[in-house]
Symmetry: C2
Subunit: 163 residues, 2 copies
Amino acid sequence: MLARPTPYRPHNHDACVSQALADARIICQQQNARLTPIRERVLELIWRSHKPLGAYDVLAELASDGHNAAPPTVYRALDFLQQNGLVHRIASLNAFIGCTYPGESHAGMFLICRACGNVLELTAPDVSSEVRKAAADEGFRTENTTLEIAGLCPLCQAEPGHD
Amino acid sequence: MLARPTPYRPHNHDACVSQALADARIICQQQNARLTPIRERVLELIWRSHKPLGAYDVLAELASDGHNAAPPTVYRALDFLQQNGLVHRIASLNAFIGCTYPGESHAGMFLICRACGNVLELTAPDVSSEVRKAAADEGFRTENTTLEIAGLCPLCQAEPGHD
DNA sequence: CTGTGAATGTTATAATGTTGCAAATTTTGC
DNA sequence: GCAAAATTTGCAACATTATAACATTCACAG
Ligand SMILES: [Zn+2]
Ligand SMILES: [Zn+2]
Ligand SMILES: [Zn+2]
Ligand SMILES: [Zn+2]
């Protein structure tokens, strides 16, 4: 299997963003969802940063584009992108990040480096199945899983202060 | 093993709260942490509700006590209680709940019913170990895990609209 | 065209959380 | 005990995150 680009491995991020946008256009077309210019622009801004972006960060970027947007514009775009599986909200950071596995059904698991702020999204089937099992043992019907791991990424363990 | 009381099983909740407070006093004494009146009162308020309580909910309860507190008072008390493992913050709800396993080292896992709002805290060693494994595979050093499952509790599956 | 629903603009406001400093309280060293 | 030091609390202002309500514009079908 080809290794996906990750925040930890340098890569051509422009290509990475372009790919994400292209994927998004296809996914939206398939789902009859309208990836309007604002929505696409918000998705692009989020993808340009591997680090999660707050709604007001997005807002500021839009403003520096000359787009005079208000909070609801951003939150609505973010809602749309979440609904369509294109971004995730990181609850422990109040921030958003592009989904690494759009179109694939998955329960995301996020490794959040407290030093450099990068976030890596994983799909861990073994984790998911243990979670489902533990919930099922209590008779609980799982609908949505939030799994966020804070800690130190490999680079920051080796090189404190790294960015 | 004796079944713990859970939000799903009715139980003598006054006793349950008293027990939690007694445990907290012992734990704080052991750790040389000062469970001051405000802190104890906040812990009690949180325990009285099995449902997670927002910081401003706590504030309102304090106010109805006649205690004229400001937000920092509550947030500081909550920080203290978290530091000492007496409450957890539920990131997906911006709310706090008493820890079911205080004094025991554990990575909490929370089953959050979207219908009745009750939250059950579990310790699931199998889940924790799978999580650690998945993180370790990426060379990531786990410090803190947020695992919150939203869905339907057994009662609400059977009896929609139940509280 | 034109009516209809979706998307966006706009303003205001709600909800959650923090900073900074002063006053009070508790602990510590003597 | 008593003064110095450290911790805790009070308090005012402020920062950040998110939503409500309603008007306007836009895309698209008939
Ligand atoms: Zn990338
Ligand atoms: Zn890092
Ligand atoms: Zn109880
Ligand atoms: Zn329920």
